[in-house]
Amino acid sequence: MPHVALPHTGTDKAWRDAARGLVARRVPPDEVTWSRGAAEEDLFAQAPEQVAQTRATLKVPRDFVSLAGSVVWHRDPERFARLYAMLWRLRSEKGLMEDRGDAALAKLRSMEKAVHRDRHKMTAFVRFREIGARDLPRRRFAAWFEPTHFTLEPTAPFFARRFADMDWMIATPDLTAVFENGELGFAEGQPKPDIPEDATEELWGTYFRNIFNPARLKVGAMMSEMPKKYWKNLPEARHIPEMIASAGARAEAMQAAAPTLPPLRAAKITERLAAPSVVRAMADDLDQLRAEENACTRCPLYENATQAVPGEGPRDADLMVVGEQPGDQEDLAGRPFVGPAGQMFDRIAREAGIDRSRAFVTNAVKHFKFAPKGKRRIHQNPNTGEIKACRFWLQSEIELVRPKLILSMGGTAAESLTGSRKGILSRRGTVEETAEGVPVFLTVHPSYLLRLPDPALRDDETEKFRADLKSAQAHLEELRAS
């Protein structure tokens, strides 16, 4: 029966080459034995030649390659044979790699998981101690670690990527990794070397003891992630028994302690910070109006929005543009008409000859109404109550700016300004009046155009919208002239 002895380093590649050769020679799994180390046998010596011939013919799922790449580092002596048996089956069983219910695959997957965990714990629990003088051009560190599996070789590159500007050595019973001047090499395993304690360990212990919250003792959670087998090589672990033992008493002492009097400086500081709250009467200019809008709690919409989005534009604008409500982007930025619909409005308004910088733009409702959906916010129409509550602010803006014409876009703006949102498509392009007698030019909201799925229809509607804006501009010029 052929026997394959695999080398101590490069085991993964050696197994792959040997397995490929065996499959090519149609050697079934029960006719081959495997080992790590031991004398090299004939077959292994011949393997490279056979590999060259067979490389192209053996195809296995990529998933198996990565599985084997991990499982070879497991300490179970059966790992090579188990992998080879799986490889043998893969030649004929399609979809085997996707079947987590298969017992042999489940076993290999659990071994793979054990190796991953062992590798991960190595990256976490290796503790370097400084062994050279600090002023060397490359500082020198060493560590002793006892992994459960043969995981130093596959894990050493992690340390090389992380600690590239220093020299280091990680010694384990099976293998030693040495990194010097940017070169990673391996040497025989060794018994625990004598690495003198590092002064920084004292500070690390201080940190470990103080970051611990004695009021939430959960020893089980710690033990499952940092099992005792690792403790002997972790400098901080020596503090654990005392930390657990004193936790209860410390937590009780905190609860039992009577509140103390604040230090003298506290009152002075707190007093200085408590900003004098100015009681504002009627709004008399835009800045103050903005501040008041931001503090508005007239309807529940303020609870979920980031901020109120006040109107923006020159104090003496003769055109006021009123949209529905701020959207996602406006809510974040605190400025109206900066989202997709606002950008579309800007573009078409420019084409229609409206000077956007001379218009005052605002919304009928000042807070964004939405329904959360995962990582997005879905726009919701404000209801009549919310529109009414916010009418106060829109009215205040109109009174301050005193526009000659208001461009009302969409149903919500129409409802707020004229009292009705009905039949907006038949009323578009006409001029109505607010209750106070300010002329209101009605049209649709630009987001309506954005929502149209049919490109031809959208082009049509965009054209109508542009015509509306042109006619609004013409009307404004008439009003200016008169």
Partner: protein, 410 residues
């Protein structure tokens, strides 16, 4: 004030930092120091380098720059009115501690927070200086998390995001009213605006300019926040509603829930309690259901008194209240339905869907795929298993309740 040794400062300023729950170091841009000119790497998943007996992972050097603070937040050990011992690190001390700890493989990087001294801008400026020195002068390529001060100027937050992997701003309490009550100097709308600012900057950093050049990345590991649970009267429905809003509004990576835990020198305004650790755990489970299992906050708390059941997990509790949706046949059900089966995790569901294309699955297959069949039992039908009357059994909920524990005498 007497001058403290570095060790004493570290003791005071890590003690003061322990109430921040986050210690994540994952999900940032990949970096390494293979060029030999710097120190450190980040490779996607974070590493927990140690665990303290409170069961929390220690991944980062989590410290305050200083625990002097001009604010008076009732829940906080560092509030101005507390008599806790105060200390302050210099920029160089923080940089040195971070690098020396990192070289010995104790940590993944730095999580720097601070009490507010003089002014929010002055404090943020010093914090940014530490991050900048680590990155630019020391070529540190490990992980940096900066706790951002919401009142600080936009330029400083912009810089923070340039050097840090993650920035976070704590909402502190589940409702605005509680923030106003317990943290009188903090303004909920300022906090929200700051989080909105981080999201906008992060999005702006994704857009290529007209020359096709990418602007520098802004906080590649995103932003997170934390709220304290159990200090105010908010119920779980309120808390989860707030999280839903935060996730949808500001693209947060995580919302952390921190059970209100006794602090030294507590204030009379906020009596100490035993930290509600189980409640915190259930909230994290519910948070997971919202982010990875397609549940929304309303479903999770519908049919309860507004609080999650502490005895059983929220997914099982939902299934028990919605038995009409079961049993589910793993051979036929779609992913959404499978994700709602108690005992099936997201990975198990992926394995079921991959394997069922090839053959019929049985009980033992599901066990091997990682399903917790003890929980799934009444909710699935298989070729070799039907729950029969079990699903409708009136005592089904009771069967899942934990065994009564004998009360401890002390």
């Amino acid at each position: 004030m007497t001058a403290h040794s570095l060790e004493r400062k570290l003791a005071i300023l890590s003690d003061a930092a322990r109430y921040d729950a986050s210690c994540a170091s994952s999900g940032t841009a990949k970096r390494n120091s293979k060029d030999g000119k710097g120190l450190g790497s980040t490779e996607g998943s974070g590493i927990c380098h140690a665990y303290a007996p409170d069961g929390r992972c220690i991944s980062l050097l989590k410290i305050l720059m200083t625990n002097f603070c001009i604010f008076d937040c009732a829940y906080c050990v560092n509030r101005v009115s507390s008599n806790t011992e105060r200390a302050r690190f210099s920029v160089d001390e923080v940089v040195k501690l971070t690098l020396e700890f990192y070289r010995r493989n104790y940590i993944e990087g730095l999580f720097l927070s601070s009490g507010i001294i003089q002014s929010p801008d002055k404090t943020m400026e010093d914090m940014v200086r530490i991050a900048k020195k680590l990155r630019l002068e020391e070529s540190f390529r490990g992980y940096i998390h900066l706790k951002t001060i919401p009142e600080a100027s936009e330029e400083l937050i912009e810089q923070a995001g340039l050097y840090a992997d993650r920035v976070s701003i704590n909402v502190e309490m589940p409702t605005d009213a509680s923030v106003t009550q317990y943290a009188p100097e903090k303004k909920p709308d300022t906090i929200r605006r700051a989080m909105a600012g981080v999201r906008m900057r992060k999005e702006a950093a994704k857009d290529k300019s007209h020359t096709g050049k990418r602007p520098p990345r802004f906080a590649p590991a995103g932003q997170s926040t934390q709220m304290i649970i159990g200090a105010d009267g908010s119920n779980d429905a309120t808390i989860l509603g707030q999280s839903t809003r935060l996730y949808s509004s500001y693209g947060l990576k995580r919302v952390y829930y921190s059970a209100f835990s006794p602090i030294p020198d507590a204030t009379a305004k906020l009596p100490l309690i035993k930290p509600p650790l189980m409640r915190e755990h259930r909230l994290y489970q519910a948070d997971w259901l919202m982010r990875f299992y397609g549940f929304d906050a309303g479903e999770i708390t519908a049919g309860t008194d507004g609080n999650l059941d502490l005895a059983i997990d929220p997914k099982l509790a939902w299934a028990l209240r919605n038995r009409h949706a079961f049993p589910v046949d793993p051979m036929r059900a779609d992913r959404e339905a499978l994700l709602r089966v108690p005992g099936f995790g997201a990975k198990t569901v992926g394995r079921i869907i991959a394997a069922r294309r090839h053959r019929r699955l049985r009980w033992d297959d599901l066990v091997r795929m990682g399903a917790n069949m003890k929980n799934a039992r009444p909710f699935v039908t298989l070729a070799d298993w039907t729950p029969g009357a079990l699903l409708d059994a009136p005592d089904l909920a009771a069967r899942f309740a934990p065994q009564p524990e004998q009360l401890s005498l002390f």
